[in-house]
């Protein structure tokens, strides 16, 4: 993206809360959550690893923040980086253990991890049990809690923009560029032979993705005012994958586009419950079959089809 486009987008995001209705602002906040999660998931997909349990790291961030503020009386502000840190520590350990696995084995290991996280919180009353923990406090600014959509929009925007900017620019560091060489075991051997420390890079990238995911998860819990094991369960993990695939995996902006569009649509369907899952699944099937490159590939496909005559 050009500097002008980024500036225009940022300006629009800053102006938005001053002109939007509270409902529109609610949609915008949820879009920012999902867009950030999906961009973080894409960073892992980009190195050839299918994370089927990324919502587990949202849950780790969310619960860390909630336990700290509700059970231990720590400031919700402190809970935000703490959630990211805990998610990152778990990602470090888990990544070191599982990133040597490939394909379906890695995907299922991470899926199992996501299930373990939610099962753990469900199992202990101190962690809220099946009902979760209500009464999650929001951080205060100048003594006033960020109670309104307008007020809470700002920390969400800051974490989303910072997280996405880091993920975007990371692709262009020597570290991020080298991640493209780790997609298969064979190409990983070649990468090692030219001096790329594959295992270290994979773990580091996984940690970055999960720190950003977990940090946003803390704000998510504060926004909902509660956590429970269902919200950040396996459906959330598969939803994130659907966003990324519908948007298209060829570039950085595809998953973000997919997350933005589907989340905005999903919020419209929220009142009719299970329709959301049905519609997401249907859209995914249609996109996979008629537009395998995802929505981001649509302009190119249209140009190819209705191409300007020479």
């Amino acid at each position: 993206m050009t500097v002008a486009r980024v500036a225009a987008l940022l300006l629009a995001l800053i102006v938005l809360p001053f002109v939007a209705t509270p409902y529109a602002l609610h949609v915008a906040i949820v879009v920012l959550f999902n867009v950030t999660y999906t961009a973080a998931l894409y960073a892992v997909l980009r190195m050839g690893y299918l994370s089927l349990g990324h919502a587990g790291f949202i849950a780790l961030g969310a619960y860390t923040c909630v336990i700290l503020s509700v059970r231990l009386g720590v400031s919700p502000w402190l809970g935000i980086p703490a959630g990211g840190l805990v998610a990152g520590l778990f990602a470090w350990g888990l990544g070191a253990l599982t990133l040597r696995l490939r394909g379906i084995y890695f995907a299922l290991a991470i899926f199992a991890f996501g299930e373990i996280v939610t099962a753990f919180f469900r199992a202990f009353d101190w962690f809220g049990g099946p009902a979760g923990i209500p009464g999650v406090p929001r951080p205060a600014f100048l003594g006033t809690p960020l109670a309104s959509h307008f007020a809470f929009y700002w920390p969400v925007l800051v974490v989303a923009v910072l997280g996405i900017a880091i993920l975007y620019r990371l692709q262009y560091t020597r570290f991020g560029a080298a991640l493209l060489t780790l997609k298969t075991a064979e190409s990983e051997r070649l990468a090692e032979s030219v001096g790329i420390p594959a295992a270290r890079y994979k773990t580091a990238n996984f940690v970055v993705s999960c720190v950003i995911t977990g940090t946003m998860g803390t704000l998510h819990a504060q926004y909902l005012l509660f956590v429970n094991p269902q919200v950040f369960g396996s459906t959330m993990s598969t939803d994130l994958l659907i966003y990324a695939m519908v948007g298209g995996l060829a570039g950085f902006w595809g998953p973000i586009l997919g997350a933005g569009l589907l989340t905005a649509l999903g919020e419209q369907l929220f009142s009719v419950g299970y329709w959301k899952t049905l519609v997401y699944a249907a859209i995914l099937m249609v996109v996979i079959m008629v537009l395998p490159g995802g929505l981001a590939d649509l302009p190119r496909r249209l140009r190819a089809h209705f191409g300007a005559p020479r």
Partner: protein, 257 residues
């Protein structure tokens, strides 16, 4: 001056099977050495032990006098050991140019912070890398393919690209695993002319080769392995007259090459 590579009494066992038994040899700076032997003689195992993929069970490996036994593949690459693989191995989804840029990884200065902030230094480094990669492609005569995807290349070009990636690391020691295998006569000649010419000017080369014509025409010295033991170490030209070597290869068609 220390030899570039010293292999001292290297053994490698897989369970009860001895793939290598006390193999010792040296490679002098600027030498082009062939590693020869029938299938299963332990050539690839030896390559993997030198390149850090599989550490030896016993023995030492020295790089310019420094013990590098047991170092990992990526650590050895940073110390100046590059290699190609017997099966053509490329970054398949990347273009030819991008493949070579990845080979330059240890020479990039794109520190994470520079890249994150998009500092001018970052753009400078990106340009410098592309220039260096172009230089390597030109050296091997495959610059015309720069924007083609690696998985779409014909075998001859793909094999040259594997050498280009390895050469981009600017190694002291380059290990080539059957660089001419599978190539037509003309392609093999082109490859070996390059290896014995431009590539050799830049680093010491050890190659695995079956074809005696290639060994005799291009290499200075040959080390022959059979059943994991060294049975010959001497001039490449004298290879075909050595009784032990002839015996090991008896009935193997490639002898005529």
């Amino acid at each position: 001056m220390n030899p570039v590579l010293e292999v001292r009494g290297v053994s490698k066992r897989f369970g009860g099977l001895a793939a290598l038994s006390e193999v010792s040899f040296e490679v002098a700076r600027g030498e082009l050495l062939a590693l020869v032997g029938p299938n299963g003689a332990g050539k690839s195992t030896l390559f993997n032990t030198i390149a850090g993929v599989a550490p030896p069970t016993a023995g030492r490996i020295l790089l310019e006098g420094t013990d590098v036994t047991g170092k990992s593949s990526h650590a050895l690459a940073r110390l100046g050991v590059a290699r190609t693989f017997q099966l053509v191995t490329l970054f398949r989804e990347l273009t030819v140019l991008e493949n070579v840029v990845q080979g330059l990884h240890r020479h990039t200065r794109l520190a994470v912070l520079d890249g994150l902030l998009g500092l001018p230094r970052y753009r400078e480094d990106t340009r410098r890398l592309a220039e260096r990669a172009e230089g390597v492609l030109a050296l091997l005569g495959i610059a015309a393919h720069r924007h083609e995807r690696a998985d779409a290349l014909p075998l001859g070009i793909a094999k040259l690209l594997t050498v280009a990636i390895a050469l981009a690391t600017e190694p002291r020691l380059l290990l080539l695993d059957e660089p001419a295998a599978g190539l037509s006569h003309d392609e093999a000649t082109r490859m070996m002319d390059l290896v014995a010419g431009e590539v050799r000017k830049r680093c010491t080369v050890v190659l695995v080769e079956h074809n005696m014509r290639i060994v005799g025409n291009y290499c200075d010295r040959a080390v022959v392995l059979q059943f994991g033991r060294k049975i010959y170490d001497g001039a490449a030209a004298g290879l075909v007259h050595d009784p032990a070597v002839v015996d090991a290869y008896l009935g193997v068609a490639e002898m005529d090459g």
